[in-house]
Amino acid sequence: MNAIELRELNKSFRLDLKVGRRQALNSLSLTVQPGEIYGFLGPNGAGKTTSIKILVSLLRADSGTATIFGLDPARNETRKRIGYLPESPVFYDQLTGREFLRFCGKLCGMRGPDLETRSTRLLEEVGLGHAGDLQIRRYSKGMNQRVGIAQALLHDPELVILDEPMSGLDPIGRAEVRDLILGLKKRGKTVFFSTHIIPDVEMICDRIGLINRGRMVSEGSVSELLDTREARPIEVLVENVTGAIDGALASEVSTIGAQTLYLVNSDEALHRFVAAVLERRGRLVSVTPRREGLENLVVRLLEQDRVAA
């Protein structure tokens, strides 16, 4: 059974009379396997938070289905199995961090010494051991984020849904959250998180989904996405080529002495480019598939999606 399954999800919002409705999700489908870390990527307004809110039952989809472990997210039994961190979270600022965790724990059915022990341990784990008895209104943005992560993990849920968990954290905090997510995976938990910080995704995710304008643009493991043919431009170093080569076949990157480095975008273009080089009595020095970084890949896929639209 999938930990998360979204099938043909549609959601639109009414903006105003002039603009009418805006389609936030457009037949979005995705699945997350149990025990997986799934990175949910996309530009601002792509529909990431909308999808997450449907998963935790804060929004209702216009059509399509969302299930968690095969169950309806609106049911309390389902939500007992989820830990959720909202985007830029705001909590009850008159409560202390410890009181807030106690409050959240009670809502999840926790009681007594178990709740106290777990709250203390989580406050330590997220680096708030010293600030547990401080009112949340005195917390910095990063501390707020940390207490938010603590409340999401408090009842030891099977599925943790984090909306931009790295936002507001310094590099050390980000590294700590990455370790925390990896620790959850080791304990067999499923983690679904949205982020803008692509290096984090590259480092820890088993699979990623890239959405734009409410649609899935690309989905797969990081290596699968990076190894797709379209994602691998090829660097070709040639020398002693007489005459110019058609710019449609390859783009010239640099020239040093008699050697010129070209970038070719596909295997088909490579065949024609090599033929063109040999025709011009040139010599092939090297052919190297370039491994594109995830950040570049994401930018390129989003650009392709924009052009296609």
Partner: protein, 257 residues
């Protein structure tokens, strides 16, 4: 059982949040000063000392309870939606019905607790001035609590669908029209057709808050038949229940963008 625990947990959190708010302390101190200042009125009154004491004291408690209901109640839901603190709570295994009921209970509890403290202060002052403490004064206080319970439910209902400003406006309108509803009905019944129909509909929609006004009974120690009192209490509970039910229906349908 879990549902009840959740309601109590949310009520306790609402109580704590309100108790720690500085505005709450300012309001409470102000009202306490007004209750104690009834001593001054008592000192300058020669013949009706005990009546002035009860009148001023109960009026201060009433104003405080009303101000706190409007201050804390009108934004009790929409403020949490605006600040997004509601997301964390509703993503937990909490029903929306439980959330609304917990919020209302928390609101009523904080008003009940503080009003009771002020009422005890009033009783102490009455004791100092050797004024007879009779059933009437308790009746007056009960009326205030019933009114707060109803207005609190109206405030919660408004805050599920509109802004704090509009909620405050609606609550104030309900308060004043609720106290003038008998006069309003008299005027409406002189008109005819659609105007009369709409007027009567408004009359039945707005709670008749004069039913909770036992200040006369408090001042002159006039008792009320137990049947009448029970009917008033039931009316208050039914009206608050209906307003909360409407709040739950509105809230169940809400999306949190």
């Amino acid at each position: 059982m879990t549902a009840i625990t959740n309601i109590v947990t949310i009520a306790a959190q609402t109580f704590t949040e309100a108790r720690r708010n500085r505005v709450f302390y300012s309001l409470f101190l102000f009202a306490l000063v007004v209750v104690l200042s009834s001593i001054i009125f008592t000192e300058v009154t020669s013949t009706t000392m005990d009546r002035v004491l009860k009148d001023t004291g109960l009026a201060a408690i009433n104003v405080f309870a009303l101000a706190l209901t409007i201050f804390a109640g009108v934004g009790i839901i929409n403020r949490e939606i605006d600040r997004r603190s509601i997301y964390t709570v509703l993503a937990k295994p909490v029903s929306r019905f439980g959330y609304i009921l917990g919020k209302w209970l928390g609101l009523v509890s904080i008003i009940l607790a503080t009003s009771t403290l002020m009422f005890l202060g009033l009783l102490v002052v009455m004791k100092i001035y050797k004024t007879d403490i009779q059933a009437g004064i308790f009746l007056g206080f009960l009326g205030i609590l019933l009114e707060v319970m109803v207005l609190g439910a109206v405030a919660v209902l408004c805050s599920t669908f509109t802004t704090s400003f509009i909620s405050a406006f609606i609550c104030a309108a309900v308060y004043f029209s609720g106290h003038l509803s008998t006069e309003f009905l008299r005027v409406v019944r002189k008109s005819e057709g659609a105007r009369r129909f709409i007027g009567e509909a408004v009359y039945y929609l707005v709670p008749n808050l004069e039913r909770f006004n036992f200040k006369y009974n408090a001042t002159y120690d006039v008792t009320v038949a137990s049947g009448t009192l029970l009917a008033v209490v039931l009316f208050g509970v039914a009206y608050a229940g209906a307003a909360l039910l409407a709040a739950v229906i509105v809230f169940q349908r809400r999306d949190f963008r």
